[in-house]
């Protein structure tokens, strides 16, 4: 079946866009029902200790208040940790809201006020009086790293460093060119536009839960397990998600609290968290990393050593793949990678766009830049000389790796060949100008996914899957894939996702949805065409009697022979003859285990950045970025470009702005609002060019796509940091690179 329709691979606007910009797309906290109650969460103001006394009397008397829940009156729920573990849970004891009086982190929920209106709930919450017994908090990773440890239970295989190879220490000692430095990356806090919210409604004899999540089936299973509910009676929807970036992989406490209150009170309940509470939820953990690199005089890597200590909470061992990238990004035979955790009195960190890579690759790619200057060769050339043609960590072939093309095309678009090597060698007025680059890498894989496709007699198509669109374009690309197979315009395809009752799909994470659900839709669509052909072949004197699947396609409402579109039958006639009004098929894909024994897939990038830094005033500005991406087949260049643009902006924030500021005396985050926790404003973002290089890959997924959600951020912070070095001659190994850090360097 050839691509006649020019749909997949072409730039379509989001099909749900008009709903979003006209206010018709309802997010989790925008659903209503008669008698809806509103919840407001009160949070702890100490980071460690316990509640000695909690007085809710005044809050309970507040007009409009229905009930105040604390650990003293919370209804009973599941006892065992297993019931609390969602599919994205990490080793440890999942947090249980209002379970007891123990305080594990600043901002921990300590009470839920349910009232007839939001304002009453909020105002009453401020009247709750709590006396704490505060313990000394430990929140400074630079201190707590002394007690770092290797996690006893790995979160996943990919997060365990490979065993050392070669003789990294000896090779390092013997090499003529070495760098070894420590990098500190402060914690970052998720702040998508949409806050976490849950609305619980009583519908059709069960619960309909509108939740802000990246996986409605994950939420559904969690709720059923925790509250012991019949899965048939619980439906979870997340039709629209206003950004999540990994924050919505695991259930948040507002989900538990909203369901708890609605079951207890037998009334619909909505709980929406505040912006402040975003700072107490999933966050990108602070890391302290040491990277030691050694090379010969030509820049060929002789030794790579990367050790990371990453923050986690007291109650869970959150893990991400921070260091393994350093063993596969470049060719090197002497490698030692190690990864440890340090427990802090903080909420459990979580996945945040390219978790692990965004931090680990930042350290590696900054160190590579340092090595380029140690060796005395162009930083891009250094990377070219160390090109890895297979994954040495796992001894596997790449299914594709068009990183060379990223280097070439990115450098050409940026004008890298005009760069002068020496730091402080480019100026413009008061500004020192710097050009830096970095490479990026992220895993590409598919997860098991299912989809259902229905072709109606009138040619209309419906695609259904329990996938999520977290702003990434899932609606659109699933529609495109079906539209192309059925030869219909995109507007004839209805896409139903964000509903736990639809065909099984994993959480939307790890840049896997496009490749996984997209492939499942393609499988289902092809199955529907096959069924249509079977019906056609059964018709008397069928012109398609001897046609096989490969011979036919659908064009303008007819099932036709590829070689001659004149020969065929209309969909309507075929279905009429078969006595059906629609054809519905299921599609299912799974990773190819046999292939995975030999092959592995990654997305790659090369990021080129120009910065300008006023020589005296030390204020950095990112004035130009070129991000060249090798991401397999690009299904929709428009939504794909948006993914990368967003990743670059987030990377600039990581490099220059974002930092949770903790008062280590109290363990409390002090800049818990968007006025003081800085992310880039429009003024901070200038020219960003995205280049998708040609990369054919027939193994990574049936549709050849790799996924683009994460790769856009990887390497950006390092490229900015490297550009600042090139501009100023100052190597700043502590992110974010704020004015004080430049001034003090």
């Amino acid at each position: 079946m050839l691509n006649h329709s020019r749909i997949v691979g072409f730039p379509f606007s989001r099909i749900e866009g008009p709903l979003k910009v006209t206010g018709q797309a309802h997010y989790a906290a925008e659903h209503h029902a008669p008698g809806l109650l509103h919840g407001f969460v009160a949070v702890s103001t100490v980071a460690a200790g316990s509640i000695a006394e909690i007085d809710t009397a005044e809050a309970e008397r507040f007009p409009g208040v229905v009930k105040v829940y604390t650990h003293e009156n919370r209804p009973q729920t599941a006892e065992s940790d297993d019931k609390w573990k969602d599919t994205a849970a990490v080793p440890g004891h999942p947090f249980r809201p209002l379970e007891n009086g123990r305080i594990l982190y600043d901002g921990q929920p300590v009470a839920l006020v349910i009232a007839e209106g939001f304002e009453a709930a909020r105002d009453a919450a401020s009247l709750i009086r709590i006396r704490y017994i505060a313990d000394e908090p430990h929140t400074d990773i630079l201190r707590e790293r002394r007690q770092s440890y290797v996690p006893a239970e790995p979160r996943g295989e990919s997060m365990v460093p490979p065993p050392p190879r070669g003789e990294p220490e000896q090779a390092f000692a013997a090499a003529p060119c070495t760098v070894s430095a420590e990098y500190v990356l402060e914690g970052e806090h998720h702040n998508p536009m949409e806050l976490f919210g849950t609305t619980v409604l009583f519908e059709n004899g069960g619960l309909t839960i509108h939740d802000k999540t990246q996986g409605p089936q994950n939420t559904q299973a969690y709720v059923c397990n925790v509250f012991g509910l019949d899965p048939e009676k619980v439906k979870v929807r997340n039709d629209f998600v206003g950004g999540a970036f990994g924050a919505g992989l695991r259930p948040k406490h507002q989900l538990f609290l909203a369901v708890m209150a609605s079951l207890d009170l037998q009334r619909p309940v909505k709980v929406e968290l505040s912006r402040r509470e975003m700072f107490y939820l999933t966050w990108r953990p602070a890391t302290v990393q040491r990277v030691s690199l050694a090379a010969d005089r030509d820049g060929r890597l002789q030794s790579v050593m990367h050790h990371a200590v990453q923050a986690t909470s007291r109650y869970e061992d959150y893990q991400e793949n921070v260091v393994n990238w350093s063993g596969l990004a470049y060719r090197c035979d002497n490698v030692r990678l190690s990864y440890e955790l340090a427990k802090l009195d903080v909420s459990t960190p979580g996945d945040m766009r390219a978790p692990g890579a965004a931090t680990g690759v930042t350290a590696l790619e900054t160190a590579m830049d340092e090595l380029a200057y140690e060796v005395g060769i162009d930083p891009l050339e250094l990377r070219r000389r160390n090109f890895a043609d297979h994954d040495q960590n796992q001894g596997k072939q790449f299914t594709s790796k068009a990183l060379d093309a990223c280097y070439r095309e990115g450098a050409a678009r940026f004008g890298w060949d005009r760069r002068s090597f020496s730091p402080r060698s480019m100026r413009e007025g008061h500004d020192l100008v710097g050009w830096g680059m970095a490479g990026g890498v992220w895993e590409a894989s598919i997860a098991p996914a299912e989809a259902r496709v229905r072709l109606s007699v009138d040619g209309a198509v419906t695609v259904s899957a329990a996938a999520s669109d977290i702003g990434t374009g899932t609606y659109t690309i699933l529609g495109q894939i079906a539209a192309e197979t059925f030869g219909v315009p995109l507007g004839r395809v209805k896409v139903e996702i964000g509903d736990s009752t639809l065909p099984k799909t994993g959480v939307e994470g790890g840049s896997r949805t496009a490749a996984s659900s997209g492939s499942a839709v393609q499988v289902a669509s092809k199955a529907a065409v096959k069924t249509l052909l079977a019906h056609a072949k059964g018709m008397p004197n069928s012109p398609l009697a001897r046609a096989s699947e490969e011979d036919v396609s659908i064009s303008e409402g007819r099932l036709v022979l590829e070689r001659n579109h004149q020969i065929g039958l209309s969909i309507g006639d075929i279905m009429d003859a078969a006595g059906v009004s629609f054809i519905e098929e299921h599609g299912k894909i799974e990773p190819d285990e046999a292939q995975m024994k030999k092959f592995i897939s990654y997305t790659h990038s090369a990021v080129f950045v120009e910065v300008k830094v006023d020589e005296d005033l030390c204020i950095p500005r990112v004035t130009r970025v070129v991000s060249a991406i090798a991401g397999g087949r690009i299904l929709n260049p428009k939504t794909a470009r948006s993914q990368i643009l967003g990743g670059v902006v987030m990377g600039i924030g990581m490099a220059l702005h974002e930092e949770g500021m903790i008062d280590h005396r109290t363990g409390r985050i002090m800049n818990h609002n968007l006025a003081e926790y800085h992310m880039p404003a429009h003024a901070d973002i200038e020219d960003i060019e995205v280049v998708f290089v040609e990369e054919e890959d027939d193994k990574v997924s049936p549709i050849g796509a790799k996924g683009l959600g994460e790769i856009g951020i990887v390497g950006v912070a390092a490229a900015v940091s490297n550009a600042i070095f090139h501009a100023t001659g100052k190597r700043i190994r502590h992110l974010p690179i704020t004015v004080d850090r430049i001034l003090g360097a």
Binding site: D431, R665, M670, V739
Partner: protein, 338 residues
Amino acid sequence: MRPFDYTRAETVREAVAALVANPEAQLLAGGTNLVDLMKYEVAHPAAIIDINHLPLRQIEELADGSLRIGALVSNAAVAYDSRVKERYPLLASAILAGASPQLRNAATTGGNLLQRTRCYYFYDPSSPCNKREPGSGCSAIGGVNRIHAILGASDKCIAVHPSDMCVALAALAATVEVEGPEGRRYIPFAEFHRLPGDHPERDNTLAPGEMVLAVRLEGNHFVPHHSYLKLRDRLSFAFALVSVAAAMDIADGEIVDLRVALGGVAHMPWRDSLAEAEFAGAPPTEETFRKVAVRLLAGAKGQGGNDFKIPLAHRAIVRALSQAAAGTPQDQTVKAFQ
């Protein structure tokens, strides 16, 4: 937020009477700061007196040639007023360096003067804070104090005034027109805000029952030689780490009248007119400006997290004065520093 009484004042007299009658009341103008503070549980006014209907929304030219900016004139309206742009470009520039277009449309002149510090601890009701709760202590001392004061702080409070507009008004030596139970009075801008001392809960010298009616600008306009330079953590929509309103008159190659006001460094827009006077007659050169910076920052003291502000302020003063002397004020729409 707690429930409160709401009344709407139709006249200044009514507003003052309501303030006198209820010391727990607060005036509501643009609401861009007060409403936030109420939501954060920092402010719990028992009553809100809405003054948005008072006739204070004009910029008038007075007989003596001075400009009277009503307390309810929005920041945007001031910044884009043709008379302000022509005569007081330093003020227009400072306003446009602050906040965002949306906020500048809502925020008022009087409200800008009365906005409260952005100290993290002031904004966090569970932290001790002498400004929010006198006698409870200052958490910023020894805490997260990257954005705090290097000049004029006390052991009770190290907060800074967050305004950009007020820094320009300080340099321009504006006058604040206030009305209270005792009638009308005029406060020189340098005496309007105050240092924290032992009473950081008091941001300014308004007496109980007094309200701001207008800001008056007269005298030297510093059109040829001025600049507002703001340094912050991102290029827009962030409070100043350090800002400088610089202005001077130059005659025969000598500085005649020097003005330097600093933002982001003290509990009030920081100006030292004695120091300024010492440079009358000096040549408007970078060397002079370095001396000005040294002189102005002689008493500067860091708190740890904000130590960098001292060298940063030094550099900013030199640059802003250089821009002013050269007649090339910082253009707030240009990201590069001139």
